[in-house]
Symmetry: C2
Subunit: 638 residues, 2 copies
């Protein structure tokens, strides 16, 4: 068996330049015009200068509601000595009405006294006053729009006024997206075979390409068969201006794209020194660009942004819009290999006027990260990464205002935080960014003032919650400890509890595959506390070192038979249709730093926590108690 | 005859507040959801939180191309002491493949040596390495998106991955636009009756409303008949969320909208203290907003921006985007009445790093101004206007980058400037902003360093052009005087020359209605020179004081019998199909300030002027000579 595992590692700017040069030299950037009825041209781009086909106004027009007169008749008129003009010698006109040749001025209605058979003028008219010349707005032959102008609402109105019927606009380049992979299925089923993957990358890429000004067509999914993939490329080749092959771009067993590009055309670059997304392919077939994007969604999105975006914009004649960027500091160390340009998704929030970027999980397979992310931090080639607290530039996905108006919570995960996120934004326009770093992680973030508040559920020695930790780690801070919920913790097991697990004492059984939470998670501390009480050594538990980061992930692992049990809250077991062996009821509080959260936002936060809707949504989920919800549990007297 | 000419003069923010309060109290902002197939939701807005219907991955998956093994089998493996694993005890996997329960690690392909019946491992595996947990990306029950989130390409992919089939999204509010006016026609004819106006406002308003997130429907044009307009409002009332009546909002004879709003519902505001756009109507009919916009396009656009934009955004749950603003100085005095908020369209360009706003013609009827404009300067109520050189904030229509990369030319108008505009942007991405202030206006702008260059055609005493003026007014400046074109000046007359005009001596005839150019225009100076030479007094010319600002406007006035003749260049007569009596050939030069135009842009400008394409387009137009085009006519030795 032979695997070609060696691909290039070309710097991104060199790869792009080679691609652009090749496309330039084969004439791909030459623009094609199509003729579109004027009323359908909103947001299209002019392919050539557009000339007025008529003058507007095309007649001498009144610029006011009033009366058209001959100036000569009004000479000498004053308030003390008004001039009368008899019916027949003047013409009532509204704004826009034709002013016939025999008149040379319009007097505003406010300056006229009307009588049955005459009007009275109190001020002499100046020649051509309140009269619009022919062509005042536009003249036949005038250039209304130059080439490559985007037709917005105002341009559209001007074109209609100018008598333009059809407009030569840039034909949108057509991107054909070919999803490949035997593992791909077209839509999700609730029960899917292991190994099946829902094909969603093509829709992401089509959405991006449309935002950049392309039209798109999606080929049906093609299984990993060299001949079928080759045929798919041939099928779209005539119609498409840009061919995108999704996945199959690396050097794995079933990665045929590179070979097909070499066979049908010319390979420009295979392998770019970026992360994620290294195994990208840039090629040319029949004077048309072919881009092979990796299968992981974040890699696919990055490669498409780096290489499809500039060529689509250039082909349509529109400059690539500047990214909305902000400078900030990075919240934690970000190691990165020297040799690659790395793009890391981050959340961003402003704390005390200081913008902080919070790196997200760098797993390229996580489509959820692209949704959570506020933007990316670029670690340039030649840098070994960023140390915590160093400056960085954040390219934003959203506008600056959204970011400035954000609250951030780093700490333990609870589903009820999602209700806060939802209601805070919906009712108050406040975006709440939540990152799960466990309870201890939350306390450390509070210490560094890198979070407005943290969700924590840390068992104190005295059987209470959280206070002793806060006294130890935040001795000098002002904060409010507010209860969000009380919640049931227990062991999640398959329906019917097939291994007959009754409590944590059963975790020592060798056939019981456990899944744990990450270090610092309150649930793990609770387990450790219970194990200690029972005198059980963690080392004997099969899977104690296998970590998940959320309650739901633990339940999902049980549901899918990746393990037999894990400790989690009731709500997660319920959501997955699993059984639940109760172990404890714990307090889940928010520790809010009152010195750094803006007053207005604190007020909104407390209002949402104490709202009827929040309580109802929490209780509706199950496994929660809300008798303490919204109560202040502790407030230091610093 | 009775005319109700008195309407309110309410401050805009008070008018908006009353409108918002009334809509709030009648529940209009309550949002409606509709269920849309997930793949059709790009750029829609979630109406409620969206929950994952499945976990992803839903199985334990390989994160790499490699082989799945049992960790225990790899203990002790090093480069010096590799471990062999026999076929059957491992499983080849590609990225994303299912890893069955019997394996607990994946080893990357790069770290394996393959043999026919076994593989060789050189490094011990750590439990769960390169294995993706179930739900690593998302877990069934997770909130994927909160309420009121715009679904972009990334969100779309995540929703598909999460198994969401249909998405509850905010139903777009439907704006019904009713154009009214007996003078309106649906589309332009080359020959239209005097008084007819092409209806284009509705398309402008629909374009704007769509950009703000609404759907739109356009009613047929309704003539000025109270009962028919009332019926049109009733017709759209059930279906529409927002009713917009175009024009008919002032207090002229045929303005029925206000009365209809009062009859069918409630008038909130009639008349707002803004300019342009004062006679706006804000009302409520059947708990739905009705906006009456004035008939002039700039007034209509402004009123729609002030009052429709905020309510459409609030109804869809999206914050109104911040305007892109820049600070600059205003190039000339802008008087404005104390009592109104005035919005003035301006061009904007950066000269020597200083942003300058150039006010455009304030005629509200000029749809071409909205196309030329880069944005608006707001003169607040209580200010008497802006003096030249004072600071101002410019709300931009385009992005900052376009503005920064602009060249500006203030001076005399020539059609060939349009070719420069077109080619400079198309080939070099340089936006050239041209404002016609006549040759002398151009020289004054050069003196104040408010323009990069100016087009001038001023006859010197010695029969040459421009140099004596520049020596007088720009004695200390560095500039290049470059010829753009030579052009034929003459008298434009109707086809067949019915008044038998042979030269300027015929302008003294009383029946000859002349139309002049504005003061400072080179054409006017040429006329004055010729009149002086002939010993003709300007006062005897019928229409000497009637001014147009461009050659084409002069020709259009002749074509439409608003006058009998005017002096203009040959090209304008030809474009209008008119006859032309040659009077002179003049030089039209560009005076370029070399100290303030960036080198790169100067180079592009000269390159375009000297290009074959420019020459061909000028000559194709007619009436030009290009033997001097691109030649440097004068360069002072300062």
């Amino acid at each position: 068996m032979s695997r070609n595992i060696y691909i290039d590692n070309m710097p991104q700017e060199k790869a792009l330049q080679l691609f652009l040069d090749e496309l330039q030299s084969c004439g791909w950037f030459e623009r094609t015009a199509e003729y579109v009825p004027v009323r359908e041209t909103l947001h299209r781009i002019t392919a050539e200068p557009i000339i007025a086909r008529r003058s507007s106004p095309h007649y001498v027009a009144s610029a006011m509601d009033g009366v058209a007169v001959k100036c000569a008749m009004t000479i000498g008129a004053t308030e003390g000595n008004p001039v009368n003009i008899m019916a027949g010698d003047y013409l009532e006109v509204d704004t826009g009405d034709f002013v016939p040749k025999e008149y040379d001025a319009v007097i505003m209605i406010e300056d006229i006294n009307f009588f049955p058979d005459h009007i009275q003028i109190i001020k002499a008219a100046v020649p051509w006053q309140h009269i619009r010349s022919i062509g005042e707005d536009m003249v036949e032959g005038d250039m209304i729009l130059p080439s490559l102008r985007t037709i917005g609402p105002y341009e559209l109105a001007a074109l209609i006024t100018a008598g333009v019927e059809t407009v030569p606009v840039i034909k949108k380049p057509l991107a054909a997206i070919i999803p490949t992979g035997t593992e791909l299925v077209d839509s999700a089923q609730i029960q899917m075979a292991p190994g099946d993957i829902v094909e969603s990358n093509s829709y992401m890429l089509m959405g991006l390409a449309r935002e950049w000004g392309a039209d798109c067509v999606r080929h049906d999914i093609v299984i990993d068969d060299r001949e079928l993939i080759r045929q798919a490329v041939l099928d779209v080749k005539e119609q498409a201006d840009l061919i995108v092959v999704c996945s199959g771009s690396s050097a794995g067993r079933e990665d045929y794209t590179a070979g097909i590009v070499r066979e049908l055309g010319k390979m420009i670059v295979h392998g770019v020194a970026v992360r994620p997304g290294k195994p990208a392919i840039l090629g040319i077939i029949d004077q048309k660009p072919v881009i092979g994007v990796p299968g992981y969604p974040i890699s696919a999105g990055l490669i498409f942004n780096l290489f499809a975006k500039p060529i689509i914009y250039r082909k349509t004649g529109v400059p690539v819009p500047d990214a909305d960027t902000m400078t900030g500091t990075i919240s934690k160390k970000l190691p990165s290999p020297m040799g690659v340009d790395e793009y890391v998704n981050v959340n961003a929030a402003s704390i005390n006027g200081k913008m902080i970027a919070y790196p997200l999980n760098r797993g390229a397979g996580l489509s959820s990260i692209l949704v959570k992310s506020d933007g990316t931090v670029h670690i340039e080639r030649g840098q070994e990464g960023l140390v915590a607290g160093s400056g960085c530039s954040i390219s934003l996905y959203h506008t600056g205002r959204d970011i400035q108006n954000s609250l951030i919570t780093l700490g333990s995960h609870d589903m009820s935080i999602d209700f806060l996120i939802d209601i805070l934004y919906r009712d108050h326009g406040i975006r709440l960014v939540s990152t799960n770093v466990g309870s201890m992680g939350g306390i450390m973030a509070l210490r560094r003032k890198e979070t407005h508040f943290a969700g924590i559920h840390l068992l104190d020695e005295d059987g209470g919650y959280n206070v002793s930790y806060l006294q130890k780690y935040l001795p000098d801070e002002n904060y409010l400890l507010v209860n969000l919920v009380k919640r049931h913790q227990g062991l999640v097991v398959s329906p019917g509890n097939p291994l007959n697990i009754k409590g944590i004492e059963d975790l020592v059984r060798n056939e019981v595959r456990y899944i744990n939470r990450q270090k610092g998670a309150g649930t793990r501390i609770l387990l450790d506390h219970l194990l200690k009480k029972e005198g059980i050594s963690p080392t004997v538990i099969n899977g104690y070192n296998r970590e998940e980061y959320t309650h739901l992930a633990v339940a999902a692992a049980v549901k899918n038979d990746a393990c037999d049990t894990g400790m989690a809250i009731f709500a997660s077991a319920k959501a997955m249709g699993l059984d639940f062996i109760p172990v404890d009821v714990e307090r889940y509080d928010l520790c809010i730093l009152t010195d750094i959260i803006p007053d207005q936002q604190l007020e909104c936060l407390l209002q949402v926590i104490r709202s009827e809707e929040f309580r109802e949504r929490v209780n509706g989920f199950g496994g929660y108690e809300t008798d303490l919800t919204g109560q202040i549990m502790h407030q230091p007297s610093n």
